[in-house]
């Protein structure tokens, strides 16, 4: 009776065992990487906007405060996008003929708001409130990154749930004094430069622990499902 298989089948059979293990591992690794990549999260991807607004220029260059435009950030869930009138407070006086600002003038003339592309977009099943985060000492830059270094706007973080939970589980590692929330260049205290106003903290962790107590951050509650998924 002739052999059914060539003798190489032995090698193939053995290799296929390792191959299968490797393949399963590789598939899992690729799937995990894609899930965390900007391809899925849009982290670090610059969006097209009707007007190429530069936070770098307006915040760092001119020193405009976040709240000048995002007016409702301290008392509403939504930080607020400025109406065209806000732009025109300055741009009715300067750069009045700049081609780049034509959509702004159009909007002002017709009363039709500019249609900005939303950069930080949470899923609808997540309830997020800006005001409480501001009140508890979460800096703008903690989530949005150093906006004053962004010529065009991109998403700083992944916005994945594990990222939210990093802070909700250990808020001490991220909180800062309320007075520093809008400061783009705030640095945590060090032994050389302790925070005298906040328990003489010499590190982020010491400061954070102090602030958790001071601001009444309920660590036992902020990881409950229904805090964000209502």
């Amino acid at each position: 009776m002739p052999q059914i298989f060539h003798s190489s089948a032995n090698t193939i059979a053995k290799a296929s065992i390792f191959g299968a293990v490797f393949l399963v591992g590789a598939i899992a690794w690729v799937a995990g990487s894609v899930q965390r990549s900007p391809y899925t999260t849009d982290q670090g991807v610059v969006r097209d906007q009707p007007v190429p607004f530069s936070h770098e220029h307006h915040v760092r260059g001119l020193g405009i405060d976040c709240r000048y435009c995002h007016t409702s950030v301290e008392d509403s869930s939504f930080a607020g996008l400025p109406p065209t009138q806000t732009c025109m407070t300055c741009h009715s006086q300067i750069w009045t003929n700049a081609q780049i600002l034509e959509p702004v003038r159009q909007s002002f003339a017709t009363g039709k708001p500019l249609r900005w592309t939303r950069v930080h977009n949470l899923p609808n099943f997540v309830y997020f409130n800006h005001s409480v985060h501001i009140a508890k000492g979460v800096g703008c830059a903690t989530c949005h990154g150093q906006v004053d270094r962004m010529p065009l706007m991109w998403q700083h973080a992944t916005l994945q749930m594990v990222w939210c939970l990093q802070c909700h589980r250990d808020p001490e590692k991220y909180l800062r004094p309320r007075s520093e929330v809008f400061n783009m260049n705030w640095q945590p205290p060090t032994p050389e430069h302790p925070d005298v106003a906040h328990g003489n903290a010499t590190s982020q962790l010491e400061l954070g622990k102090f602030l958790v107590k001071e601001y009444g951050v309920r660590k036992d509650q902020i990881t409950n499902c229904s805090v964000c998924h209502r």
Binding site: A9, A13, Q160, M161, V162, L165, Q166
Partner: protein
């Protein structure tokens, strides 16, 4: 002397495990012939067609469910566990007979298991496949079923270890894996036989790959026997653990009718009870159609009947204890649940299960009943129905009367519930029908061992008889 003779006579009365006309060669030919024949029996096509139609109904029902959501089922508050859980427990329970036959009866050296173990293991696999569908579909969003596994996800969450759903995931996936391994390892020498007997090139290659280069050398057999025993040892705790965990899915909830320590053992007994009923339901017609009466003999039916009787009595004890504890606990809710079960709106289901699971198997005390295939077949079907009713009663009657009368409700499966349930029966049948066509439904190598052992014994006694003459 008289006592010895009496013992002899009782032993003689037991029909043999394999008919005496079979030899080592003919038993392999008989079993492999079913697979390797070119002429597929016409009724087989009919069976496949019927099973496919019913399976299509299942796929249709699943498709509609995915499209519309679990609202198409009858589940609602307070009965949030409906058909899906009833069917899950029923199917998982059925699978248990296969594991018991393959693992525990192997370790206990019960040689009669040889004729039915392959088939029962296949039944286990297909039953687990059917069972697994239900909790997944019940999730509501089955496409994210992998959230049930602990893996580093982007949500920063791990499964809730206090949830029975997670226990089920591990119990059932372990069960499915070990059952598959056991079944496949048992198949290897038989696949090699099929490879060697096959005339067709494609069949040779396929069976050849499946047999993993088996040559039947002494070393192969030596290692094989060890591996098989080890797997048997691994599978043995699963006979008890899987349905215990399913029982704890219920016992873990503070619902009168569920919150009971008797659940794990009583579920295990029920599982084996229903599993053997299913094995009987399937083997009785099969042995007739394929002329296997000499291999799956009356002795097997007799033994299966005895196991059904024993486990049925344990289940009956469970029912009795539920009622007794309901009374003895002196707990308002427990006693209300007990009387509501017996005389409430679902009393018909309760008394039906008492009829199917206690009154019917009682007849198995009679040897005549156990050894008449047609009667045993009917009884096994009644037990299958009864065990489904049991789960229906446990799930629905415990939930439909909540603690507050304002939350009371009624439950009934919708058309989609029934289509899904009956559809899995078709899918199960389809898997089995395909299995008996392409793989040996009885373990050939174990039958050969059995036959040669019997021949030796018979040879010795014949010689003794000659000498005595």
């Amino acid at each position: 002397m008289a006592g010895e003779q009496k013992i002899r006579r009782t032993a003689d009365m037991l029909p043999p495990v394999v008919a005496p006309q079979y030899t080592v060669g003919s038993v392999s030919d008989k079993i492999s012939g079913i697979v390797l024949t070119k002429k597929t029996p016409r009724p087989w096509y009919f069976g496949v067609a019927l099973a496919m139609v019913v399976s299509l109904m299942l796929f249709n029902a699943i498709g509609y469910l995915l499209l519309k959501g679990v609202g198409v089922w009858g589940v609602d508050v307070p009965v949030a566990w409906g058909f899906a859980i009833v069917n899950f427990v029923w199917w998982i329970g059925i699978g248990h007979a296969g594991t018991l036959i393959s693992a525990i009866l192997l370790l206990l050296k019960q040689e009669w298991r040889t004729s039915i173990n392959r088939f029962a293991e296949a039944m286990t696999l297909f039953a687990v496949a059917c069972a697994g569908m239900f909790p997944l579909l019940h999730l509501g969003r089955p496409w994210v079923f992998y959230w049930l596994f602990p893996y580093p996800d982007t949500m920063g969450l791990w499964p809730q270890w206090r949830s029975p759903l997670v226990w089920d995931v591990f119990a059932v996936s372990t069960y499915a894996t070990v059952s598959l391994l056991f079944w496949y390892v048992g198949l290897i020498p038989d696949l090699a036989t099929l490879r060697d007997k096959a005339q067709n090139r494609i069949a040779q290659v396929i069976y050849g790959i499946g047999s993993l280069g088996w040559r039947g050398s002494a070393m192969h057999w030596h290692r094989y026997e060890i591996a098989y025993l080890l797997l048997g040892g691994l599978a043995t705790p699963l006979v008890v653990s899987v349905h215990s965990i399913v029982g704890m899915d219920f016992a873990g909830g503070i619902v009168p009718g569920w919150h009971s320590t008797i659940f794990p053992p009583y579920f295990v007994a029920g599982a084996i009870f229903s599993g053997f009923a299913m094995v009987a339901t399937l083997t009785i017609p099969l042995r007739k159609w394929y002329g296997l009466e000499g291999i799956i003999t009356i002795r097997h039916l007799d033994n299966m009947g005895k196991i059904m009787l024993a486990t049925g009595l344990i289940v009956a004890y469970g029912y009795a204890m539920e009622v007794f504890i309901g009374y003895y606990s002196d707990n308002t809710y427990e006693w209300f649940m007990t009387t509501n079960r017996m005389f409430g709106p679902y009393a018909w289901a309760y008394w039906m299960l008492i009829f199917c699971n206690i009154l019917t198997p009682i007849t198995l005390w009679s040897r005549k009943v156990r050894t008449t295939p047609i009667i045993l077949f009917v009884i096994s079907i009644i037990i299958n129905v009864g065990m489904w009713m049991e789960r229906y009663v446990i799930v629905i009657t415990s939930l439909h009367r909540d603690f507050l009368p304002s939350s009371w409700g009624m439950y009934a499966g919708t058309q989609w519930d029934w289509m899904t349930y009956l559809g899995t029966l078709g899918f199960f049948a389809l898997c089995l029908i395909l299995f008996i066509r392409v793989l040996p439904m009885i373990s050939m190598f174990e039958m050969r061992q059995l036959v040669s052992q019997y021949r030796e014994d018979a040879g010795t006694s014949a010689q003794v008889a000659l000498q005595e003459d």
